[in-house]
């Protein structure tokens, strides 16, 4: 890190980036979230998980949601998916309110959720066949999706024969096969090692460029958020509220080299400021007061290097 060097403001956008955002905002709104509240009843009383959340996403936009732990990111995406119900406000998908899960919103989970008893191909066909498509047509389409993610060779393999990254690629293909209006991703690469994760990010951008899909992507990895997103929605915790919706000034097409660009670093600095400043306010005092207990030294160490 080099604190001497002055970074530009994250708000500064090059002309190309500004034009791109203008075009993006002219596109129709796919998802509108209005005044969303979520209150959990617990034995200790009510916990406010989400409070008055507002945001929109436009068609073919890539929106990342970041925030400290406990900010309700996962709750938010589960409400968008229809797996949980909000206690207030509404979610509109192309103007229609969302009630319960549906095939118009695909979802990729953090854990591996491929059906272990189905082959890779049958996993991708699952959504198609439960929605009434014939077997042969579903199979044809599934193979196309597998080709898109580069796993057609594994069509007849079972999920347990795949690596973690491959599993998540199949999960993406399975969600996309239904041709949803929006793809919801809940920290989908969180369980992968760093190298695989980087490959998966590139891969996801590649898929996103090829097809007409809007993505809402939850992550706690700020680099990942900046690298992938058009805009980053920053939440704060207790209660979960929107802090800022940041337009990422890093130009497209995105490349790994941009990780050290000024725009990238400025955005990251801003995100860190928003997230960690808040976290420190909450946890900082306790950390200073915490005394480490005296550990009895169990091992004789002669060459003390520490």
């Amino acid at each position: 890190m080099n604190p001497e060097k002055a970074l530009p403001s994250y708000l500064d956008q090059s002309d190309a980036v500004r034009e791109r955002f203008e075009r993006l905002k002219e596109r129709p709104k796919i998802l509108e979230v209005k005044g969303l509240d979520k209150v959990f009843e617990t034995p200790k009383g009510e916990t406010v998980a989400l409070k008055d959340i507002h945001f929109d996403t436009h068609r073919r936009e890539f929106l990342c949601v970041v925030g400290p732990s406990g900010c309700g990111k996962s709750t938010l995406i589960r409400i968008l998916a229809g797996l949980d119900a909000q206690t207030g406000g509404e979610v509109l998908l192309e103007g229609k309110p969302v009630r319960g899960p549906g095939k118009d919103r695909g979802m990729v989970f953090q854990g591996y959720t491929l059906f272990p008893w189905l082959s890779v191909k049958r996993n991708v066909m699952f959504g198609l066949t439960v929605n009434g498509m014939g077997f042969q047509e579903a199979e044809r389409q599934a193979l196309q999706w597998l080709a898109l993610i580069g796993l057609e060779k594994f069509a007849d393999a079972y999920p347990h024969q795949l690596s973690g990254g491959m599993k998540q690629r199949v999960a993406i293909a399975r969600a996309l096969a239904n041709q949803p209006r929006i793809l919801l991703m809940d920290e989908p690469f969180g369980a992968l090692d760093a190298q695989t994760r980087a490959r998966m990010q590139a891969h996801l951008l590649e898929i996103w460029r090829k097809i007409d899909i809007t993505i809402v992507f939850i992550t706690h990895d700020l680099d990942e958020a900046i690298y992938l997103a058009d805009r980053v929605l920053v939440l704060k915790a207790h209660p979960g509220e929107v802090q800022e919706l940041i337009e990422v000034p890093v130009p497209h097409p995105r490349k790994m080299e941009q990780f050290i660009s000024d725009e990238f670093l400025a955005t990251k600095a801003r995100l860190e400021e928003l997230i960690y400043a808040h976290e420190e306010k909450e946890e900082g005092e306790s950390e200073e007061e915490y005394d480490y207990p005296d550990m009895p030294r169990l091992v004789e160490v002669d060459d003390s290097v520490d």
């Binding site: 797996l83 899960p101 549906g102 989970f109 439960v130 399975r174």
Partner: protein
């Protein structure tokens, strides 16, 4: 041979080592049994009489404790009469391996003494049918009910408290009632197997179903699966390998109810054979029958295990 430490916790063994150890798990008990049976200094608390001598109450082949036998010998000798003779023996309850092996062989090759009595293999087949029908009927109702209980909380609450209560009631206690309702032939026997299996089955299957990863169901919902599809296309296939494993264990339990079942109504089957032979103290036949049951049980389980690997190639805890 590479050195492997067999005794590090939860280490996988090579398949060769598994086979060898598996064979030894049978050889060791047989070895112990042989030692106890054939080495006279080991146990042998009794004396089997070969010649009663002058002792009036002794008969050839009678077994008596060593102490009283020695007293009888001393007494006879003191009186100058012929002492009884005999050799060390084990109680009649523990026949030697070769006696059991012989009984095992004769049991299958000896025709039944009376024409309306079954061959041993017919008794066995009869028992297997009783087990099959009891277990089949139980599973035909218990498995779907268990899955529904595991999948839907209202069904679970409506069913499981009573089932939980009922499973503590000893199945044999319903013997007389079963005869009154179902007659004297196989009906009540099947009913006992059913009662002994069914209630455990519902609870175990329900618990297995509940253990299904909830994320799979959520994934299916986001893919547009309806409620019924969730049950038929996610819950059922998802729990199938575990369910199959449960059934294998439950089938073993069903055998334990057979001995009670076959005492009800008209007598039949392999465990009746055991009861009858034990009553007349033919323990070599008893052990032979026990071994047959063991072989059938183990054999069935091995076959079911092999089938499981065919049925559920994706299942990795299936071994």
């Amino acid at each position: 041979m590479s050195r492997t430490n067999w005794f590090s916790v939860q280490t996988e063994l090579s398949s060769q080592a598994k086979t060898v150890l598996g064979v030894f798990s049978f050889i060791l008990p047989i070895l112990v049994w042989s030692i106890v049976s054939y080495v006279p200094v080991v146990w042998h608390p009794l004396v089997q009489i070969t010649d009663p001598g002058s002792v009036s109450y002794l008969q050839v082949d009678m077994r008596m404790p060593r102490g009283p036998f020695e007293d009888a010998v001393a007494e006879a000798q003191a009186e100058g009469q012929a002492p009884p003779e005999g050799f060390p023996a084990n109680p009649v309850y523990l026949p030697a391996p070769h006696e059991v092996a012989e009984a095992l062989y004769t049991a299958f090759v000896t025709p039944p003494p009376s024409k309306d009595m079954p061959w041993l293999h017919q008794s066995l087949w009869h028992s297997i049918q009783v087990i099959f029908w009891g277990f089949f009927l139980s599973s035909a109702i218990g498995v779907p009910l268990g899955v529904l209980c595991g999948a839907y909380a209202p069904i679970s609450r409506l069913t499981e408290p009573f089932v939980e209560f009922f499973r503590y009631l000893p199945a044999p206690a319903f013997g007389a009632l079963a005869v009154a309702i179902l007659g004297i032939y196989d009906g009540p026997k099947i009913a006992i197997i059913f009662i002994g299996t069914f209630f455990q089955q519902v609870l175990i299957i329900a618990n297995t179903t509940r253990k299904l990863d909830g994320a799979l169901a959520e994934a299916a919902l986001t893919l547009g699966a309806g409620n019924l599809q969730l049950l038929t296309r996610v819950v059922v296939p998802g729990v199938l390998p575990d369910l199959y494993r449960d059934l294998r264990i439950l089938l073993g339990w069903a055998w334990t109810y057979l001995i009670v079942a076959e005492l009800i109504g008209t007598t039949s089957g392999i465990t009746w054979f055991i009861t009858q032979q034990a009553r007349y103290q033919h323990f070599e036949n008893v052990y032979a029958a026990i071994i047959i049951i063991g072989i059938i049980g183990l054999g069935t389980d091995l076959v079911l295990g092999m089938l499981a690997r065919r049925f559920f190639p994706w299942d990795r805890n299936g071994k």
